[in-house]
């Protein structure tokens, strides 16, 4: 359902990556690997229309996302490298905001169970500024469950969280795949997941 053809991106006369092809159908995971600075975040940004590629096209269900993106965005959740929850609001206020923003149909029981599993339910009514770095990241990952979208794009989701949560995340991925979801994530970790295609991006030293 997601098709990437011949994607090339240049910056400041340097080639970041060239001629990348991806294809993602339901029940499938793509794991982007590569050393630091090789372009994984750039690729994810291009996939969410934050950057314009110099060459190549991206199709979601046959439509070019650069011409018609509303359908694409309605089916997409993007967890970035930075956390978007507001520090001056409490955890539950941030979650309620995300619920309304994405018109989510999740009910409060499911939400409570998610918070409990991630062991941040005791912070429900405290400001996000009091959370530690890992709990801050876990709150961001709650968005995956709240938004209930098909395609998940994640940038380094396994970093900053404890081992329990790492296993939890892998479980969540597996459940999502079983219910016809699709995932693309970049990580240095090697989680054990089925149906995974590993794409290694190599460092490119050529210039234009």
């Amino acid at each position: 359902m997601l098709l990437v053809k011949n994607l090339s991106f240049y910056r400041n006369q340097k080639i970041i990556f060239e001629n990348i092809d991806l294809s993602l159908s339901p029940n499938k995971i793509i794991h982007l690997k590569g050393s630091n600075g090789v372009g994984k975040t750039t690729l994810l940004k291009i996939l969410t229309k934050g950057l314009q590629p110099q060459k190549g096209e991206i199709f979601w269900q046959g439509k070019n996302i650069f011409k018609n993106s509303s359908d694409y965005f309605q089916n997409l959740t993007y967890i970035m490298d930075i956390n978007t929850s507001k520090k001056e609001m409490t955890v539950i206020e941030n979650i309620n905001f995300w619920k309304k923003l994405f018109s989510s149909k999740i009910n409060s029981k499911e939400l409570d169970s998610v918070l409990k599993i991630l062991s941040i339910e005791k912070y429900e009514n405290s400001l996000v500024s009091t959370l530690s770095k890992g709990e801050f990241r876990k709150l961001e990952l709650c968005r995956l469950v709240i938004e209930q979208k098909k395609l998940w794009l994640l940038d380094e989701p396994y970093s900053d969280i404890d081992n329990e949560s790492i296993e939890l995340l892998s479980e969540t991925f597996k459940n999502h795949i079983k219910s016809n979801g699709m995932i693309i994530f970049s990580s240095h970790h090697n989680p054990e997941l089925q149906n995974t295609e590993v794409i290694e991006i190599k460092k490119n030293y050529e210039t234009l």
């Binding site: 940004k45 314009q52 965005f73 997409l76 993007y78 956390n83 507001k86 309304k100 994405f102 018109s103």
Partner: protein, 224 residues
């Protein structure tokens, strides 16, 4: 319908965040009062002189106070990724700009419209047509908010130059000042056409600001 609910959610969050930081608004008001005091001390307690200069002083302070607010438009939301998040949730950049214009006008310009009659009182100005004067100030404060939005969007990736954003606001507010002050000082027959000119400038800026600010935000996002 979904889009409307998302926009309402964003506006509600903006209100909540600004109320939590209410000291921000109050300190800008204190800045305004201190500005009046500084002008009074530097010009001297001459009552006629002060009442003649009052419009100019109030205008200067309004623009200086707007200079302080342009950073609050987009910088923080760009840094923690919220602008990108809102874009992916289906709200286009132009609508984000309009939401920000609305919220920041209410929080950072409307308090001044309460302070301005007080300032005129302190300077001993009696305006017969105080309603028209306030109308002119309301229109001009909207235009200043749009200028601050453009300046805030242009300065998103600018870390080196601190006075540049203020310079942009000040240089484009010169024609606004010319028209508003001549409107306030003109006779009753001529005041309505001058207000119409100001309204024309306002609608022009309301039309181009979302487009220009969204363009600058896109540039900032792709180059972060």
């Amino acid at each position: 319908m979904k889009l409307f609910n998302s926009i309402l959610a964003v506006i509600y969050r903006e209100f909540k965040l600004t109320f939590r930081n209410s000291y921000d608004i109050l300190s800008i008001l204190i800045f305004f009062i201190l500005g009046i005091l500084i002008f009074v001390f530097s010009i001297g307690p001459n009552k006629e002189l002060l009442s003649q200069l009052s419009i100019g002083i109030v205008w200067t302070l309004l623009i200086l106070a707007t200079n302080l607010t342009f950073k609050k438009f987009y910088q923080e939301d760009l840094n923690d990724g919220n602008i990108y998040l809102l874009h992916i949730s289906g709200i286009s950049y132009e609508i984000i700009v309009i939401i920000k214009l609305f919220c920041l006008w209410i929080f950072f310009q409307l308090p001044f419209l309460i302070m301005i009659p007080v300032a005129f009182l302190l300077f001993g100005n009696n305006f017969e047509n105080i309603y028209l004067v306030m109308e002119i100030f309301i229109i001009s404060s909207l235009i200043l908010t749009t200028l601050a939005s453009i300046s805030g969007a242009m300065n998103l990736l600018n870390n080196k130059n601190i006075a540049l954003g203020s310079s942009i606001i000040m240089i484009f507010s010169i024609p606004i000042i010319i028209f508003s002050v001549s409107a306030i000082n003109s006779s009753v027959e001529l005041i309505q056409p001058q207000i119409n000119i100001l309204l024309g400038i306002l609608f022009l800026f309301l039309a181009i600001t979302p487009w220009i600010s969204a363009f600058c935000i896109k540039i900032a996002i792709s180059n972060k």
